[in-house]
Amino acid sequence: MIKKEEIETGYSRREMMTIAAAREIKNGEIVFCGTGISMLAAMAAKNISAPQSTIFFETGAIDSRLDEVPLAVADSRVMHATAVNGGLAEAFATMQNRFTGSRVVGILGAAQIDIYGNLNSTAIGDYRQPEVRFSGSGGACDVASFVNRTIIFMQHEKRKFVEKLDYFTSPGWIDGPDGRQKIGLGSGGPETVITNLGVLRFAEESKKMYLAACYPGITPEEVQLNTGFTLDLEQAEVFPPPTSTELKILRQRCDPQRLILD
Protein backbone atom coordinates (compact mmCIF):
# COMPACT_ATOMS: atom_id res chain seq x y z
CA MET A 1 0.00 0.00 0.00
CA ILE A 2 1.73 3.18 -1.18
CA LYS A 3 0.60 6.34 0.55
CA LYS A 4 0.11 9.66 -1.20
CA GLU A 5 2.99 11.30 0.64
CA GLU A 6 5.31 8.53 -0.46
CA ILE A 7 4.58 9.08 -4.13
CA GLU A 8 5.38 12.76 -3.70
CA THR A 9 8.59 12.49 -1.71
CA GLY A 10 9.96 9.01 -2.35
CA TYR A 11 9.71 8.05 1.33
CA SER A 12 6.92 7.49 3.81
CA ARG A 13 6.23 9.55 6.94
CA ARG A 14 6.97 6.51 9.01
CA GLU A 15 10.37 6.23 7.37
CA MET A 16 10.97 9.92 7.99
CA MET A 17 10.03 9.51 11.67
CA THR A 18 12.26 6.51 12.09
CA ILE A 19 15.24 8.27 10.58
CA ALA A 20 14.58 11.45 12.53
CA ALA A 21 14.76 9.43 15.74
CA ALA A 22 17.79 7.47 14.62
CA ARG A 23 19.66 10.74 14.09
CA GLU A 24 19.08 11.65 17.74
CA ILE A 25 20.99 8.63 19.00
CA LYS A 26 24.65 9.24 19.80
CA ASN A 27 27.41 6.76 19.31
CA GLY A 28 28.22 4.95 22.55
CA GLU A 29 24.77 5.44 24.02
CA ILE A 30 22.66 2.65 25.49
CA VAL A 31 19.32 2.70 23.71
CA PHE A 32 16.19 1.52 25.46
CA CYS A 33 13.66 0.35 22.87
CA GLY A 34 9.99 -0.35 23.04
CA THR A 35 8.00 -2.29 20.47
CA GLY A 36 7.58 -1.09 16.90
CA ILE A 37 8.97 2.07 15.43
CA SER A 38 11.29 2.82 18.37
CA MET A 39 13.00 -0.51 17.87
CA LEU A 40 13.44 0.23 14.20
CA ALA A 41 14.90 3.66 15.00
CA ALA A 42 17.48 2.05 17.27
CA MET A 43 18.32 -0.52 14.60
CA ALA A 44 18.67 2.24 12.02
CA ALA A 45 20.94 4.30 14.27
CA LYS A 46 23.15 1.32 14.94
CA ASN A 47 23.41 0.56 11.24
CA ILE A 48 23.92 4.16 10.12
CA SER A 49 25.40 6.71 12.47
CA ALA A 50 25.89 5.14 15.91
CA PRO A 51 27.50 1.73 15.34
CA GLN A 52 28.71 1.58 18.91
CA SER A 53 25.36 2.25 20.48
CA THR A 54 23.95 -0.64 22.47
CA ILE A 55 20.39 -1.79 21.96
CA PHE A 56 18.73 -2.88 25.12
CA PHE A 57 15.27 -4.14 26.06
CA GLU A 58 13.27 -4.01 29.27
CA THR A 59 12.82 -7.77 29.00
CA GLY A 60 16.49 -8.18 29.97
CA ALA A 61 18.37 -8.43 26.66
CA ILE A 62 21.51 -6.32 26.34
CA ASP A 63 23.27 -5.69 23.02
CA SER A 64 20.96 -7.90 20.95
CA ARG A 65 22.23 -8.59 17.46
CA LEU A 66 18.80 -8.24 15.76
CA ASP A 67 19.31 -10.08 12.51
CA GLU A 68 15.53 -9.80 12.07
CA VAL A 69 13.24 -7.08 13.39
CA PRO A 70 11.43 -8.17 16.56
CA LEU A 71 7.66 -7.66 16.75
CA ALA A 72 7.64 -7.27 20.52
CA VAL A 73 10.31 -6.62 23.14
CA ALA A 74 9.87 -10.24 24.27
CA ASP A 75 10.32 -11.61 20.73
CA SER A 76 12.88 -14.42 20.71
CA ARG A 77 14.75 -12.33 18.14
CA VAL A 78 15.98 -10.02 20.91
CA MET A 79 17.51 -12.99 22.78
CA HIS A 80 19.94 -14.08 20.11
CA ALA A 81 23.63 -13.25 20.48
CA THR A 82 23.22 -10.78 23.34
CA ALA A 83 25.89 -9.84 25.88
CA VAL A 84 23.65 -11.13 28.70
CA ASN A 85 20.16 -12.59 28.81
CA GLY A 86 18.69 -11.53 32.12
CA GLY A 87 15.21 -10.47 33.12
CA LEU A 88 13.16 -7.38 33.86
CA ALA A 89 14.80 -6.92 37.24
CA GLU A 90 18.24 -6.51 35.68
CA ALA A 91 17.01 -4.34 32.82
CA PHE A 92 15.28 -1.75 34.98
CA ALA A 93 18.09 -1.79 37.54
CA THR A 94 20.44 -0.82 34.70
CA MET A 95 18.28 2.24 34.07
CA GLN A 96 17.84 3.17 37.74
CA ASN A 97 21.58 2.57 38.33
CA ARG A 98 23.42 5.85 38.93
CA PHE A 99 26.31 5.03 36.60
CA THR A 100 24.65 3.26 33.69
CA GLY A 101 21.25 5.02 33.79
CA SER A 102 22.86 8.32 32.86
CA ARG A 103 24.07 6.79 29.60
CA VAL A 104 20.68 5.42 28.56
CA VAL A 105 18.46 7.14 26.03
CA GLY A 106 14.88 5.90 26.15
CA ILE A 107 12.50 5.87 23.18
CA LEU A 108 8.83 5.98 24.15
CA GLY A 109 5.42 6.34 22.61
CA ALA A 110 2.09 7.33 24.14
CA ALA A 111 -1.60 7.98 23.53
CA GLN A 112 -1.49 11.53 24.91
CA ILE A 113 1.23 14.09 25.59
CA ASP A 114 1.07 17.50 27.25
CA ILE A 115 3.21 20.59 26.72
CA TYR A 116 5.77 19.41 29.33
CA GLY A 117 6.19 16.03 27.68
CA ASN A 118 4.24 14.11 30.33
CA LEU A 119 2.63 11.00 28.85
CA ASN A 120 -0.58 9.01 29.05
CA SER A 121 -0.53 5.44 27.82
CA THR A 122 -3.23 4.13 30.15
CA ALA A 123 -6.74 5.41 29.56
CA ILE A 124 -9.03 8.13 28.16
CA GLY A 125 -11.94 9.12 30.37
CA ASP A 126 -12.52 7.91 33.91
CA TYR A 127 -9.75 5.57 35.07
CA ARG A 128 -12.01 2.91 36.55
CA GLN A 129 -14.41 2.79 33.61
CA PRO A 130 -12.61 4.45 30.72
CA GLU A 131 -13.91 5.43 27.31
CA VAL A 132 -10.77 4.03 25.78
CA ARG A 133 -8.38 1.75 27.51
CA PHE A 134 -4.76 1.40 26.34
CA SER A 135 -2.10 -1.13 27.22
CA GLY A 136 -0.85 0.70 30.32
CA SER A 137 2.57 1.93 31.33
CA GLY A 138 4.62 -1.16 30.63
CA GLY A 139 8.15 0.13 31.20
CA ALA A 140 7.33 3.68 30.10
CA CYS A 141 6.91 5.20 33.56
CA ASP A 142 10.08 3.46 34.71
CA VAL A 143 12.16 4.66 31.78
CA ALA A 144 10.77 8.18 31.96
CA SER A 145 11.62 8.26 35.69
CA PHE A 146 15.14 6.87 35.49
CA VAL A 147 17.09 7.68 32.36
CA ASN A 148 19.00 10.72 31.30
CA ARG A 149 16.97 11.63 28.25
CA THR A 150 14.01 10.33 26.31
CA ILE A 151 12.81 10.59 22.73
CA ILE A 152 9.06 10.36 22.25
CA PHE A 153 7.17 9.14 19.18
CA MET A 154 3.66 10.55 18.67
CA GLN A 155 1.00 10.66 16.01
CA HIS A 156 0.33 14.36 15.62
CA GLU A 157 -3.35 14.86 16.40
CA LYS A 158 -5.17 17.45 18.46
CA ARG A 159 -6.71 14.83 20.76
CA LYS A 160 -3.24 13.44 21.44
CA PHE A 161 -1.43 16.75 22.13
CA VAL A 162 -3.57 17.92 25.03
CA GLU A 163 -3.74 20.62 27.68
CA LYS A 164 -4.34 18.06 30.39
CA LEU A 165 -3.71 14.33 30.30
CA ASP A 166 -6.62 12.05 31.13
CA TYR A 167 -4.17 9.87 33.06
CA PHE A 168 -0.61 10.78 33.99
CA THR A 169 1.36 7.59 33.25
CA SER A 170 4.95 8.75 32.74
CA PRO A 171 6.77 11.85 33.93
CA GLY A 172 8.13 14.39 31.48
CA TRP A 173 9.15 17.81 32.83
CA ILE A 174 6.02 17.75 35.09
CA ASP A 175 5.22 21.49 35.22
CA GLY A 176 8.47 23.23 34.37
CA PRO A 177 12.22 23.34 34.87
CA ASP A 178 12.17 22.29 38.55
CA GLY A 179 9.19 19.98 38.16
CA ARG A 180 11.13 16.75 38.35
CA GLN A 181 13.21 17.91 41.27
CA LYS A 182 10.09 18.88 43.24
CA ILE A 183 8.61 15.40 43.01
CA GLY A 184 11.90 13.73 43.87
CA LEU A 185 13.24 12.67 40.50
CA GLY A 186 16.82 13.18 39.43
CA SER A 187 18.13 14.71 36.26
CA GLY A 188 16.87 13.57 32.88
CA GLY A 189 13.66 14.19 31.00
CA PRO A 190 12.22 14.30 27.51
CA GLU A 191 14.39 15.90 24.89
CA THR A 192 12.66 15.38 21.57
CA VAL A 193 9.17 14.57 20.33
CA ILE A 194 9.10 13.06 16.87
CA THR A 195 5.74 13.07 15.09
CA ASN A 196 4.44 12.39 11.63
CA LEU A 197 4.61 16.15 11.00
CA GLY A 198 7.91 17.22 12.48
CA VAL A 199 10.26 17.40 15.42
CA LEU A 200 9.55 19.20 18.69
CA ARG A 201 11.89 20.04 21.55
CA PHE A 202 11.62 21.63 25.00
CA ALA A 203 12.64 25.22 25.72
CA GLU A 204 15.56 25.45 28.14
CA GLU A 205 14.01 28.06 30.44
CA SER A 206 10.39 26.85 30.53
CA LYS A 207 10.62 23.17 29.52
CA LYS A 208 7.61 23.81 27.32
CA MET A 209 7.43 22.03 23.99
CA TYR A 210 8.20 24.07 20.88
CA LEU A 211 8.32 23.21 17.21
CA ALA A 212 11.94 22.68 16.19
CA ALA A 213 11.40 21.47 12.63
CA CYS A 214 8.75 20.48 10.10
CA TYR A 215 9.23 17.76 7.57
CA PRO A 216 9.53 18.97 3.99
CA GLY A 217 6.10 19.96 2.72
CA ILE A 218 4.62 20.55 6.21
CA THR A 219 3.97 24.07 7.47
CA PRO A 220 4.27 25.19 11.11
CA GLU A 221 0.61 26.25 10.96
CA GLU A 222 -0.38 22.73 10.02
CA VAL A 223 1.45 21.47 13.07
CA GLN A 224 -0.29 24.02 15.32
CA LEU A 225 -3.64 23.03 13.86
CA ASN A 226 -3.03 19.47 14.98
CA THR A 227 -1.85 20.43 18.47
CA GLY A 228 -4.21 20.92 21.42
CA PHE A 229 -2.06 23.61 23.06
CA THR A 230 -0.22 26.65 21.77
CA LEU A 231 3.19 25.91 20.34
CA ASP A 232 6.06 28.31 19.86
CA LEU A 233 6.53 28.06 16.07
CA GLU A 234 9.24 30.72 15.74
CA GLN A 235 12.22 28.40 15.72
CA ALA A 236 10.82 25.89 13.25
CA GLU A 237 13.23 24.86 10.54
CA VAL A 238 12.74 22.45 7.70
CA PHE A 239 13.91 19.03 8.71
CA PRO A 240 16.50 17.50 6.35
CA PRO A 241 14.82 14.65 4.47
CA PRO A 242 16.18 11.12 4.66
CA THR A 243 19.28 10.53 2.57
CA SER A 244 19.30 7.73 0.06
CA THR A 245 21.82 5.86 2.26
CA GLU A 246 19.57 6.17 5.29
CA LEU A 247 16.58 4.93 3.33
CA LYS A 248 18.51 2.10 1.77
CA ILE A 249 19.81 0.81 5.10
CA LEU A 250 16.44 1.21 6.78
CA ARG A 251 14.62 -0.65 4.03
CA GLN A 252 17.13 -3.33 3.19
CA ARG A 253 18.89 -4.02 6.47
CA CYS A 254 16.42 -3.11 9.19
CA ASP A 255 12.96 -4.04 7.96
CA PRO A 256 13.08 -5.72 4.55
CA GLN A 257 9.71 -7.41 5.18
CA ARG A 258 8.24 -3.98 6.08
CA LEU A 259 6.75 -5.49 9.24
CA ILE A 260 7.00 -2.22 11.11
CA LEU A 261 7.43 0.30 8.30
CA ASP A 262 3.97 -0.44 6.88
Partner: protein, 325 residues
Protein backbone atom coordinates in the same frame (compact mmCIF):
# COMPACT_ATOMS: atom_id res chain seq x y z
CA UNK B 1 4.44 -31.82 48.55
CA UNK B 2 7.33 -29.51 47.78
CA UNK B 3 9.88 -32.00 49.06
CA UNK B 4 8.37 -34.86 47.03
CA UNK B 5 10.69 -36.65 44.66
CA UNK B 6 8.17 -36.91 41.84
CA UNK B 7 5.88 -34.00 41.13
CA UNK B 8 4.91 -34.98 37.61
CA UNK B 9 1.16 -34.84 37.18
CA UNK B 10 -1.42 -33.96 34.54
CA UNK B 11 -2.44 -30.43 33.75
CA UNK B 12 -6.05 -31.35 34.44
CA UNK B 13 -5.19 -32.51 37.94
CA UNK B 14 -2.85 -29.63 38.74
CA UNK B 15 -5.30 -26.92 37.65
CA UNK B 16 -8.21 -28.67 39.35
CA UNK B 17 -6.42 -28.99 42.68
CA UNK B 18 -4.44 -25.74 42.83
CA UNK B 19 -6.33 -23.10 40.83
CA UNK B 20 -9.55 -22.48 42.78
CA UNK B 21 -12.28 -20.07 41.77
CA UNK B 22 -11.50 -16.56 43.09
CA UNK B 23 -7.91 -17.43 43.83
CA UNK B 24 -4.95 -15.10 43.39
CA UNK B 25 -3.08 -16.34 40.34
CA UNK B 26 0.03 -15.12 38.58
CA UNK B 27 1.14 -16.25 35.14
CA UNK B 28 4.62 -15.92 33.65
CA UNK B 29 5.82 -14.97 30.20
CA UNK B 30 5.86 -11.62 28.43
CA UNK B 31 3.50 -10.44 25.62
CA UNK B 32 3.99 -13.13 22.97
CA UNK B 33 6.71 -15.25 24.55
CA UNK B 34 6.65 -18.17 26.95
CA UNK B 35 3.10 -17.59 28.21
CA UNK B 36 1.90 -20.78 29.95
CA UNK B 37 -0.78 -21.18 27.28
CA UNK B 38 -1.54 -24.87 27.82
CA UNK B 39 -2.38 -24.02 31.43
CA UNK B 40 -4.35 -20.95 30.37
CA UNK B 41 -6.50 -23.05 28.04
CA UNK B 42 -6.99 -25.69 30.72
CA UNK B 43 -8.17 -23.01 33.15
CA UNK B 44 -10.64 -21.89 30.50
CA UNK B 45 -11.81 -25.49 29.94
CA UNK B 46 -12.34 -25.97 33.65
CA UNK B 47 -14.36 -22.72 33.61
CA UNK B 48 -12.62 -21.15 36.58
CA UNK B 49 -14.26 -17.93 37.66
CA UNK B 50 -13.42 -14.85 39.69
CA UNK B 51 -9.65 -15.10 39.34
CA UNK B 52 -7.55 -12.30 40.77
CA UNK B 53 -4.83 -12.23 38.14
CA UNK B 54 -1.30 -10.78 38.34
CA UNK B 55 1.12 -10.22 35.47
CA UNK B 56 3.64 -7.57 34.45
CA UNK B 57 3.54 -7.29 30.63
CA UNK B 58 1.45 -10.15 29.52
CA UNK B 59 -0.42 -10.37 26.27
CA UNK B 60 -1.97 -13.55 24.98
CA UNK B 61 -2.39 -15.41 28.26
CA UNK B 62 -4.09 -12.55 30.07
CA UNK B 63 -6.30 -11.72 27.11
CA UNK B 64 -7.58 -15.27 26.66
CA UNK B 65 -8.34 -15.67 30.37
CA UNK B 66 -10.24 -12.39 30.34
CA UNK B 67 -12.02 -13.21 27.09
CA UNK B 68 -13.24 -16.51 28.50
CA UNK B 69 -14.68 -14.80 31.56
CA UNK B 70 -12.30 -16.32 34.11
CA UNK B 71 -10.99 -13.04 35.52
CA UNK B 72 -12.58 -10.59 37.96
CA UNK B 73 -9.60 -8.51 38.94
CA UNK B 74 -6.31 -7.77 37.28
CA UNK B 75 -3.07 -6.18 38.45
CA UNK B 76 -0.85 -5.45 35.51
CA UNK B 77 1.66 -3.08 33.90
CA UNK B 78 0.94 -3.74 30.25
CA UNK B 79 -1.65 -5.73 28.35
CA UNK B 80 -0.48 -6.02 24.78
CA UNK B 81 0.84 -8.47 22.24
CA UNK B 82 3.39 -6.34 20.43
CA UNK B 83 2.58 -5.70 16.80
CA UNK B 84 -0.22 -8.29 16.91
CA UNK B 85 -2.30 -6.23 19.34
CA UNK B 86 -0.75 -3.08 20.79
CA UNK B 87 -3.55 -3.23 23.35
CA UNK B 88 -5.08 -6.63 24.00
CA UNK B 89 -8.57 -6.69 22.51
CA UNK B 90 -10.61 -8.61 25.07
CA UNK B 91 -8.79 -6.89 27.93
CA UNK B 92 -9.61 -3.51 26.46
CA UNK B 93 -13.24 -4.40 25.97
CA UNK B 94 -13.66 -5.88 29.44
CA UNK B 95 -12.16 -2.79 31.09
CA UNK B 96 -14.22 -0.37 29.00
CA UNK B 97 -17.37 -2.31 29.82
CA UNK B 98 -16.52 -2.47 33.51
CA UNK B 99 -16.52 -6.26 33.46
CA UNK B 100 -13.22 -6.50 35.30
CA UNK B 101 -11.46 -4.33 37.83
CA UNK B 102 -7.94 -3.40 36.81
CA UNK B 103 -5.18 -1.79 38.85
CA UNK B 104 -2.19 -0.33 36.98
CA UNK B 105 1.47 -0.46 37.88
CA UNK B 106 4.63 0.00 35.86
CA UNK B 107 6.65 -2.95 34.67
CA UNK B 108 9.43 -2.39 37.18
CA UNK B 109 6.91 -1.89 39.98
CA UNK B 110 5.31 -5.25 39.17
CA UNK B 111 8.73 -6.87 38.94
CA UNK B 112 9.69 -5.45 42.32
CA UNK B 113 6.38 -6.56 43.81
CA UNK B 114 7.04 -10.14 42.78
CA UNK B 115 10.64 -9.77 43.89
CA UNK B 116 9.51 -8.54 47.32
CA UNK B 117 7.25 -11.57 47.54
CA UNK B 118 10.11 -13.87 46.59
CA UNK B 119 12.39 -12.18 49.14
CA UNK B 120 9.83 -12.49 51.93
CA UNK B 121 9.57 -8.71 52.27
CA UNK B 122 6.42 -6.58 52.55
CA UNK B 123 7.70 -4.00 50.03
CA UNK B 124 10.60 -2.76 47.96
CA UNK B 125 11.45 0.84 47.07
CA UNK B 126 11.90 2.49 43.68
CA UNK B 127 11.94 5.97 42.20
CA UNK B 128 9.53 4.91 39.47
CA UNK B 129 6.06 6.39 39.70
CA UNK B 130 6.82 9.54 41.71
CA UNK B 131 4.27 12.20 40.86
CA UNK B 132 2.17 10.02 38.54
CA UNK B 133 -1.43 8.83 38.46
CA UNK B 134 -0.13 5.30 39.00
CA UNK B 135 0.19 6.37 42.63
CA UNK B 136 -2.91 8.56 42.76
CA UNK B 137 -5.46 6.29 41.07
CA UNK B 138 -6.31 3.01 42.72
CA UNK B 139 -8.11 0.31 40.81
CA UNK B 140 -9.28 -1.36 44.01
CA UNK B 141 -11.10 0.71 46.60
CA UNK B 142 -10.07 0.73 50.28
CA UNK B 143 -13.10 -1.36 51.22
CA UNK B 144 -12.28 -4.08 48.70
CA UNK B 145 -8.71 -4.20 50.02
CA UNK B 146 -9.93 -4.49 53.61
CA UNK B 147 -12.13 -7.44 52.74
CA UNK B 148 -9.45 -9.42 50.93
CA UNK B 149 -6.53 -10.39 53.11
CA UNK B 150 -4.63 -11.25 49.94
CA UNK B 151 -4.38 -7.50 49.22
CA UNK B 152 -2.39 -4.81 51.03
CA UNK B 153 -4.41 -1.95 52.51
CA UNK B 154 -2.74 0.60 50.28
CA UNK B 155 -1.67 0.62 46.66
CA UNK B 156 1.62 2.51 46.73
CA UNK B 157 3.19 4.70 49.40
CA UNK B 158 5.56 7.62 48.80
CA UNK B 159 8.12 8.31 51.55
CA UNK B 160 11.01 10.65 52.18
CA UNK B 161 14.39 8.93 52.06
CA UNK B 162 15.18 8.02 55.70
CA UNK B 163 18.88 8.34 54.81
CA UNK B 164 18.46 11.99 53.77
CA UNK B 165 20.03 12.76 50.43
CA UNK B 166 21.90 9.45 50.23
CA UNK B 167 22.14 8.40 46.57
CA UNK B 168 20.42 11.60 45.41
CA UNK B 169 17.03 10.07 46.10
CA UNK B 170 14.96 12.46 48.21
CA UNK B 171 11.77 10.43 47.75
CA UNK B 172 10.90 6.80 47.11
CA UNK B 173 7.82 4.88 46.10
CA UNK B 174 7.26 1.73 48.16
CA UNK B 175 5.62 -1.07 46.20
CA UNK B 176 3.88 -3.80 48.21
CA UNK B 177 4.80 -7.46 47.81
CA UNK B 178 2.68 -9.93 45.91
CA UNK B 179 2.43 -13.47 47.22
CA UNK B 180 0.11 -15.18 44.73
CA UNK B 181 -1.64 -18.33 45.89
CA UNK B 182 -0.52 -19.93 42.64
CA UNK B 183 2.00 -19.05 39.95
CA UNK B 184 2.14 -20.88 36.63
CA UNK B 185 5.16 -20.61 34.38
CA UNK B 186 6.24 -22.44 31.25
CA UNK B 187 9.91 -23.40 30.96
CA UNK B 188 12.07 -25.24 28.47
CA UNK B 189 13.32 -27.98 30.78
CA UNK B 190 12.45 -29.42 34.16
CA UNK B 191 13.05 -32.65 36.05
CA UNK B 192 10.58 -34.74 38.06
CA UNK B 193 11.45 -33.04 41.34
CA UNK B 194 10.83 -29.59 39.84
CA UNK B 195 14.29 -28.22 39.17
CA UNK B 196 13.87 -25.96 36.16
CA UNK B 197 15.84 -24.27 33.43
CA UNK B 198 14.63 -21.31 31.40
CA UNK B 199 16.50 -20.62 28.17
CA UNK B 200 16.82 -17.06 26.94
CA UNK B 201 15.28 -14.15 28.80
CA UNK B 202 13.71 -15.03 32.14
CA UNK B 203 11.37 -11.98 32.20
CA UNK B 204 10.04 -11.92 35.81
CA UNK B 205 9.26 -15.63 35.88
CA UNK B 206 11.80 -16.46 38.58
CA UNK B 207 10.44 -13.79 40.90
CA UNK B 208 6.84 -14.80 40.15
CA UNK B 209 7.71 -18.43 40.82
CA UNK B 210 9.41 -17.83 44.16
CA UNK B 211 6.77 -15.37 45.38
CA UNK B 212 3.97 -17.93 45.16
CA UNK B 213 2.54 -20.21 47.80
CA UNK B 214 2.11 -22.87 45.10
CA UNK B 215 4.02 -23.20 41.86
CA UNK B 216 2.95 -25.10 38.74
CA UNK B 217 5.63 -25.59 36.12
CA UNK B 218 4.79 -26.73 32.61
CA UNK B 219 7.81 -27.69 30.54
CA UNK B 220 8.64 -28.49 26.94
CA UNK B 221 10.98 -31.27 27.98
CA UNK B 222 11.04 -33.46 31.05
CA UNK B 223 14.71 -34.24 31.63
CA UNK B 224 16.68 -36.30 34.10
CA UNK B 225 17.83 -34.59 37.27
CA UNK B 226 21.39 -35.55 36.41
CA UNK B 227 21.10 -33.66 33.14
CA UNK B 228 20.19 -30.42 34.90
CA UNK B 229 22.75 -30.96 37.65
CA UNK B 230 25.57 -31.23 35.14
CA UNK B 231 25.22 -27.49 34.43
CA UNK B 232 23.56 -25.93 37.46
CA UNK B 233 24.75 -22.45 36.45
CA UNK B 234 22.06 -22.59 33.76
CA UNK B 235 19.19 -23.50 36.11
CA UNK B 236 17.12 -20.89 37.91
CA UNK B 237 14.44 -22.57 39.99
CA UNK B 238 15.29 -25.23 42.57
CA UNK B 239 12.70 -27.89 43.31
CA UNK B 240 12.03 -26.56 46.80
CA UNK B 241 9.62 -23.99 45.33
CA UNK B 242 7.69 -26.35 43.08
CA UNK B 243 4.38 -28.19 43.59
CA UNK B 244 3.63 -29.69 40.19
CA UNK B 245 5.54 -30.46 37.00
CA UNK B 246 3.68 -31.10 33.74
CA UNK B 247 5.56 -31.90 30.55
CA UNK B 248 3.68 -30.44 27.55
CA UNK B 249 5.24 -29.96 24.15
CA UNK B 250 4.10 -26.76 22.45
CA UNK B 251 3.01 -25.69 25.95
CA UNK B 252 3.47 -21.99 25.18
CA UNK B 253 1.83 -22.09 21.73
CA UNK B 254 0.66 -19.81 20.12
CA UNK B 255 3.31 -17.73 21.94
CA UNK B 256 7.00 -18.46 21.43
CA UNK B 257 9.31 -20.70 23.38
CA UNK B 258 12.92 -19.70 22.73
CA UNK B 259 15.07 -22.44 21.24
CA UNK B 260 11.95 -24.58 20.67
CA UNK B 261 9.48 -22.69 18.48
CA UNK B 262 8.41 -19.24 17.45
CA UNK B 263 5.11 -17.48 18.03
CA UNK B 264 2.51 -18.25 15.39
CA UNK B 265 1.85 -15.04 13.43
CA UNK B 266 -1.15 -16.59 11.65
CA UNK B 267 -2.80 -17.60 14.93
CA UNK B 268 -2.13 -14.25 16.57
CA UNK B 269 -3.40 -12.27 13.60
CA UNK B 270 -6.52 -14.41 13.38
CA UNK B 271 -7.01 -14.08 17.12
CA UNK B 272 -6.94 -10.29 16.88
CA UNK B 273 -9.64 -10.31 14.20
CA UNK B 274 -11.69 -12.90 16.04
CA UNK B 275 -11.41 -11.05 19.34
CA UNK B 276 -12.78 -7.88 17.74
CA UNK B 277 -16.11 -9.57 16.98
CA UNK B 278 -18.31 -10.86 19.77
CA UNK B 279 -19.91 -13.67 17.84
CA UNK B 280 -16.79 -15.02 16.21
CA UNK B 281 -15.03 -14.86 19.58
CA UNK B 282 -17.67 -17.05 21.19
CA UNK B 283 -17.37 -19.49 18.29
CA UNK B 284 -13.58 -19.48 18.76
CA UNK B 285 -13.97 -20.26 22.46
CA UNK B 286 -16.44 -23.07 21.88
CA UNK B 287 -14.71 -24.67 18.94
CA UNK B 288 -11.03 -24.06 19.41
CA UNK B 289 -10.65 -24.08 23.17
CA UNK B 290 -13.60 -25.84 24.81
CA UNK B 291 -13.91 -28.13 21.80
CA UNK B 292 -10.51 -29.66 22.45
CA UNK B 293 -10.16 -32.08 25.34
CA UNK B 294 -6.60 -30.95 25.98
CA UNK B 295 -3.61 -29.07 24.61
CA UNK B 296 -2.54 -31.97 22.42
CA UNK B 297 -5.85 -31.84 20.55
CA UNK B 298 -5.61 -28.08 20.33
CA UNK B 299 -2.13 -28.29 18.79
CA UNK B 300 -3.34 -31.02 16.41
CA UNK B 301 -5.74 -28.49 14.84
CA UNK B 302 -2.65 -27.31 12.96
CA UNK B 303 -1.28 -29.31 10.10
CA UNK B 304 2.26 -30.55 10.55
CA UNK B 305 3.63 -28.35 7.80
CA UNK B 306 2.42 -25.22 9.56
CA UNK B 307 3.94 -26.26 12.88
CA UNK B 308 7.19 -27.22 11.18
CA UNK B 309 7.58 -23.64 9.95
CA UNK B 310 7.51 -22.44 13.55
CA UNK B 311 10.27 -24.72 14.82
CA UNK B 312 13.25 -22.75 16.08
CA UNK B 313 16.46 -22.66 14.13
CA UNK B 314 19.10 -24.25 16.41
CA UNK B 315 21.53 -21.41 15.73
CA UNK B 316 19.29 -18.40 16.48
CA UNK B 317 16.62 -19.92 18.72
CA UNK B 318 13.73 -18.65 16.58
CA UNK B 319 12.20 -19.57 13.20
CA UNK B 320 14.60 -17.72 10.95
CA UNK B 321 12.88 -16.21 7.90
CA UNK B 322 9.38 -16.99 9.20
CA UNK B 323 6.65 -15.14 7.31
CA UNK B 324 5.32 -12.77 9.94
CA UNK B 325 2.99 -10.36 8.06
Amino acid sequence: MRSSQNKVTTLTAAIASLVKNNCHLSIGGFTINRNPMAAVYEIIRQQKRGLHLYAHSNGQGVDELIGAGCVSRLEIAYAGSGRFAPTCIRFRRAVERGEILVEDYSNYQMTLRFMAGAMGLPFLPTRSGLGTDIIRHWGFAKSLRKNDNGLPDQKLITIDNPFGDWCDSPKLVLVPAINPEVTIIHVQQADRRGNARIQGLTFADIEQAKAARHLIITCEELVEEEFLKREPDRNQIPFIHVDAVIPITWGAYPTACYRHYDYDPRYLNNYRQTAEDEESYQTYLVEKIMGCANHQEFIALNDDEHLKNLIADPETGYATGLKRN
